[in-house]
């Protein structure tokens, strides 16, 4: 490039277009062999998994309600079970912003914002989701054992001890690895927030 004129860039681009026409070939035999319907892109499985998880929370809530009804009026069993179910219901509603993305319908900025917001949302919620699953398991297990196995865990000291130990082990695991887990979540969260900020800056810098 020997001139100082940036309009040359447009000429060079047009030149590249012409040159490409002659040099570029589409691998059609490969395209015919590809089964597109089975192919997956990177983001869709993540979104599908998150949306599936959201509806699964509703199913878990339903299971809790069924068990709570079955053990009614044993409050020692049904109240914790309902608490676990309520936590799952909260999880379902907290993920209501999740939706599949349409790459062709949204403008580039809108789609990139949606992707960043999805990443921010999942990074923020992952820690709560993990806690909710643990809470649900601990609170629903006594009702499940009473209903399905006829084991009244609060009157069965070895079983109660085992449940307490399992709960304590999970809590200890979560406590010990909190920094590690939160560190990973925070890194993801910070990256997504930084991306969103750059997009917003790009959108807003009208006159600077």
């Amino acid at each position: 490039m020997t001139t100082h004129d940036p309009t040359d860039l447009k000429m060079l681009w047009a030149e590249e277009n012409k040159a490409l026409e002659a040099r570029l070939k589409l691998n059609e035999s490969l395209l015919r062999k590809m089964s597109f319907d089975k192919a997956v892109d990177t983001l869709t499985p993540l979104l599908t998994f998150s949306i599936f998880g959201r509806y699964l929370a509703l199913v878990y809530c339903g299971i809790s309600i069924v068990f709570a009804i079955k053990v009614w009026p044993a409050f020692l069993y049904c109240i914790p079970t309902l608490v676990g179910g309520a936590a799952m219901l909260w999880s379902f509603f907290s993920h209501r912003s999740l939706k599949m993305l349409d790459y062709s319908a949204l403008s580039i900025l809108d789609l990139q914002k949606e992707i960043c917001q999805f990443r921010i949302h999942t990074s923020k919620m992952e820690r709560y989701d993990m806690g909710i699953v643990i809470l649900w398991l601990i609170t629903t297990t006594p009702s499940f054992l009473l209903t399905a196995k006829k084991i009244a865990i609060y009157e069965n000291r070895p079983m109660l001890l085992s449940l307490c130990m399992a709960g304590a082990a999970i809590a200890a695991f979560v406590f010990l690895f909190t920094r590690l887990i939160y560190g990973a979540y925070n890194t993801k969260l910070l990256n997504a927030e930084a991306d969103l900020k750059r997009i917003s800056d790009f959108e807003q810098k009208d006159s600077d």
Binding site: L24, K25, N27, L31, T44, S107, L109
Partner: protein
């Protein structure tokens, strides 16, 4: 439309627009390894979006929108997290040219595009493809005034890069 016809139509669209797709891929790939992942990802997303393609919108505009959206998302990923096996062969095959003068001019072009961030890359590609400010603003989702401002800013950056390149060539 049966599956074979649909695939034939899709391949015809790719054949017709292979230049657009290659330039997007080339501008957003950090290295050769990225190339096949990105071309595969763009082709898959185009296939998935084809059914929702609205005929009122120009086909090339639709292709740019999908391809740039996929390329920007791909570019932003810090780690390669491909959940499908990469193809052994490439979809877009480019024969090498042996005109060295053209080679260095083309390298300058892509090197310059590579100095821009992912959003400005999309903006300059659309500008170089002769899209109007209105079309660019529709595809990108920013105001026409913002498009004009940013294009001017990129032109200034380009002017500096050309000057630098010119000075460097003379001093050697």
């Amino acid at each position: 439309m049966n599956h074979t016809n649909e695939k034939d139509r899709f391949i015809a669209i790719l054949r017709e627009n292979k230049g657009i797709l290659l330039k997007v891929i080339r501008s957003y790939c950090k290295n050769a390894e990225d190339w096949r992942d990105l071309e595969q990802e763009i082709v898959i997303q185009l296939w998935k979006s084809l059914r929702s393609y609205n005929q009122q919108c120009k086909l090339s505009t639709w292709i740019y929108r999908v391809a740039l959206n996929v390329a920007i998302s791909h570019y932003r990923k810090t780690k390669k997290q491909s959940n499908h096996a990469s193809l052994d062969e490439a979809i877009f095959i480019v024969a090498e040219d042996d005109v060295s003068e053209y080679h260095s001019r083309r390298d300058f072009l892509y090197n310059f595009i590579n100095t821009l961030d992912e959003m400005n890359k999309a903006l300059i590609i659309l500008h170089l493809e002769d899209h109007s400010h209105k079309e660019i603003s529709d595809i990108l989702g920013i105001s026409e005034g913002n498009v004009a401002t940013k294009i001017n800013r990129i032109k200034n950056k380009c002017r500096n890069a050309i000057q630098h390149n010119y000075d460097y060539t003379r001093s050697n």
